[in-house]
């Protein structure tokens, strides 16, 4: 239980001084959402560990060096990085209370997210087409599980983003919507952080001889 001592301002308003220190979260939502993201990070850590263990078991099939098209991955990475800065502009529009700016930048971000998914689906379809589907080898199973889970997260992020656009359009920039935009911002940038791991560990290191 927190104890507090009450004083009064000159005009009679009470002043509350927290005796247990002043660094308490004012609003627990962002902290709670951060904890959710960290639990999500554990899922990705398990998938990364699986890939790390199985990623060199090719079962006489193709290896990463044979399959990965780095220019395509570079374009995809650029798209995701661009979407993180456009989300940043959405946050700035939110801070300026610009409803049109917020919805506009959110839609640009969603469009970039869809581009990312399109390129990823093209890559997956190409791999499956040439017989390098998830059932080919342990390497490809763990590859599709890890990269596919990240792609699913991006898909759900895009859905969330579109729903949020409808909400903002209908109710304007209120406290609840601002909180939702801030949570989605953390989600979106978190996906970027996971993608750094994917393109480094899976694609770049997988392409090394």
């Amino acid at each position: 239980m927190s104890e507090s001592v009450s004083l009064t301002h000159a005009d009679g308003r009470p002043v509350f001084l927290d005796t247990e220190g002043k660094h308490h979260p004012h609003n627990g939502t962002l902290l709670g959402f951060w904890l959710y993201l960290l639990s999500d990070l554990m899922i990705f850590a398990c998938l990364f560990a699986t890939y790390g263990v199985l990623g060199r078991n090719y079962a006489a099939g193709p290896s990463g060096a044979d399959l990965f098209e780095l220019p395509l991955i570079a374009v995809n990475t650029a798209v995701l990085l661009l979407s993180s800065i456009t989300y940043g502009f959405a946050m700035i529009a939110l801070q300026k209370r610009s409803k049109r700016g917020l919805i506009g930048w959110l839609l640009v971000t969603g469009l970039l997210g869809l581009c990312f998914l399109g390129i990823e689906l093209y890559e997956f379809a190409h791999l499956i087409h040439i017989g390098a589907g998830p059932q080919r080898s342990a390497f490809l199973s763990s590859f599709f599980a890890l990269v596919g889970t990240h792609g699913l997260h991006v898909l759900f992020g895009v859905i969330w983003l579109l729903v949020l656009c409808v909400q903002v359009n209908k109710h304007g920039i209120n406290r609840a919507n601002a909180r939702r935009v801030a949570c989605l911002s953390m989600f979106w940038h978190f996906l970027d952080v996971v993608w750094i791991g994917v393109f480094t560990f899976v694609y770049l290191m997988g392409s090394l001889p």
Binding site: L70, S84, G88, I92, D192
Partner: protein, 130 residues
């Protein structure tokens, strides 16, 4: 607390729940992450480093720096946000992630090297067979 100078830079939350962000912060993060992404891709695609192991270590180092850049400039992490609980939860998770990753790789590497005889071991086994 109405005096703006009392508000430290670390307090990202206004009373209306909108985090304080700045264009400069986002642009700095973006430029840094573009550079930190372009260099690893250029190193691998240009085959600049012949030694795979050295290159792998360099790639992991770039990734680690870039994760920190994203945390600081995009996720607005610092030791003070949410009264330090953000940072504490992050440290706890990072410890778990390191245990999961390094533990899995270590155990499975030893399992592979002890359970799967290589070509040399096979020759020895055949030679020593009764």
């Amino acid at each position: 607390m109405t005096d703006p100078s009392v508000h430290g830079h670390d307090e990202h939350h206004d009373d209306d729940g909108i985090p304080h962000v700045s264009v400069k912060e986002y642009l700095t993060g973006f430029v840094l992450s573009v550079v930190l992404t372009a260099i690893p891709f250029a190193l691998v695609m240009g085959k600049a480093v012949p030694n795979s192991i050295v290159l792998a270590v360099v790639l992991l180092a770039f990734a680690a720096v870039q994760v920190v850049v994203h945390m600081v400039y995009f996720l607005h992490m610092n030791a003070k946000s949410e009264g330090g609980w953000n940072a504490l939860a992050l440290i706890f998770t990072v410890v778990l992630v390191v245990i999961v990753l390094s533990g899995s790789l270590w155990v499975m590497h030893h399992l592979n090297s002890n359970m799967m005889p290589g070509a040399h071991d096979m020759q020895e086994m055949i030679k020593n067979a009764p």
